[in-house]
Symmetry: C2
Subunit: 208 residues, 2 copies
DNA sequence: AAGAAAACCCCTGTTTTCCGGGATTTTTTT
DNA sequence: AAAAAAATCCCGGAAAACAGGGGTTTTCTT
């Protein structure tokens, strides 16, 4: 019996998943949680699952961070990412941080079951569209999502709001030079050469 | 018997919705479609539903445009929007274009049933979080999503890629002045004063 | 306690965008 | 066929962002 827990904040989606998983008698959904905090708590207190089906976009933490954290503490739990995003950096970051599978939400139900069985066999599972997305970008150039600091994020948000460097400096009580440094660092981390692209990418990766 | 069709590109979600709607015996799901084109075709050929449950983000057309089109041809079909977005302009645009209800995807199953019954009674239904989102923005200032032209969209995408005005002009074989005009118009339509904000908003409203 | 990373600060010159006016020609839509 | 909307082009001055160097002080992490 494979014990599975579902981490997903859309009840309707949870309903659908459970329904699909019910058709496979070797799978047993032992719990579902709508945010990162409650899963972490459940893992401490309750029975461990074999597999976690995890939505990448949760209300409290990003699936990427949650995966890292869970894998650090419980390395034998397999994690399958469930996502609407087929951007390479998102996929790549999830896999790098310990996910064993990546399934897009537009996948058919049986893909999920296949994914669970595959990762239980110790292999990696990527759904068809994910594989497509990954192969189009050549191996070595695969970029992960840049890790940005608190401050950078803060500044990114203000830029997104349309504030200028001067306004940001005033609001945060720091010098305009500092703001420009952060701008520079952001551009470098994202590998682009103007803030507009940074904002676009950040929005894409849901960092805003 | 209320005839319902579901327009949603995530099979798992469809599964969940059907499952929930099955619990109400007065509701009958007569079909489901994964994109805009197939619904429009089905409406021409098949039996009309009373209510359409429609995802706002479809692979081919935006839910906003699809709603407009369906309402133009079949004004008595009630449309309930299903969405992950709680941005005011998105909600506002849907309602303005004829949707009778707006339910966020993190809603509980019974909210959907309530929504269907409410719109069948001729009233408008908004889920709790939607109402929250709307009331925080003051009535008169409610902005709809700007309607941008083909060319503007094209330019917006190039800006998002990080190209400068000169590069865009070269690529599209038009003068830099033209590009600047488009830039200006975009900023005006979105009500902001730099292109970065335009890109951010466009990303938010899924116009990119 | 060291070392690394983050956050902070500073400068100058160049490029690009923004703002404020215009105007003409194609397309669509009615 | 007329009217409206979109797309095109033009200018000059002001404001902001970018590029590319430099450096110090906190704050994590090991």
């Amino acid at each position: 019996m494979i014990k599975v827990i579902v981490v997903e904040d859309h009840p309707i989606m949870v309903e659908g998943l459970k329904n699909i998983l019910r058709t496979d008698l070797t799978i047993n959904v032992i719990g579902d949680y709508g945010n990162g905090k409650s899963v972490l708590q459940a893992l401490e207190e309750k029975d461990h699952p074999d597999v976690i089906l995890m939505d990448v976009n949760l209300p409290d933490v990003s699936g990427i961070n949650l995966t890292t954290e869970i894998k650090k503490k419980y390395e034998d739990i397999k994690i399958i990412a469930l996502s609407v995003h087929d951007e390479q950096p998102v996929i790549h970051s999830m896999l790098q941080n310990g996910a064993s599978g990546y399934v897009l939400k537009n996948a058919l139900g049986n893909e999920i079951i296949k994914a669970i069985n595959t990762v239980m066999d110790g292999e990696e599972y990527l759904c068809t569209s994910t594989r497509e997305a990954l192969k189009s970008a050549d191996q070595d150039l695969l970029k992960a999502i840049p890790r940005i600091t608190r401050r950078e994020k803060e500044i990114l948000q203000l830029i997104g709001k349309g504030l200028t460097t001067i306004q940001i400096a005033e609001q945060l009580f720091i010098s305009t030079h500092t703001v420009e440094s952060h701008r520079k660092n952001l551009m470098e981390k994202f590998g682009v050469n103007n803030t507009t692209s940074v904002v676009k990418l950040a929005a894409e990766y849901k960092l805003l």
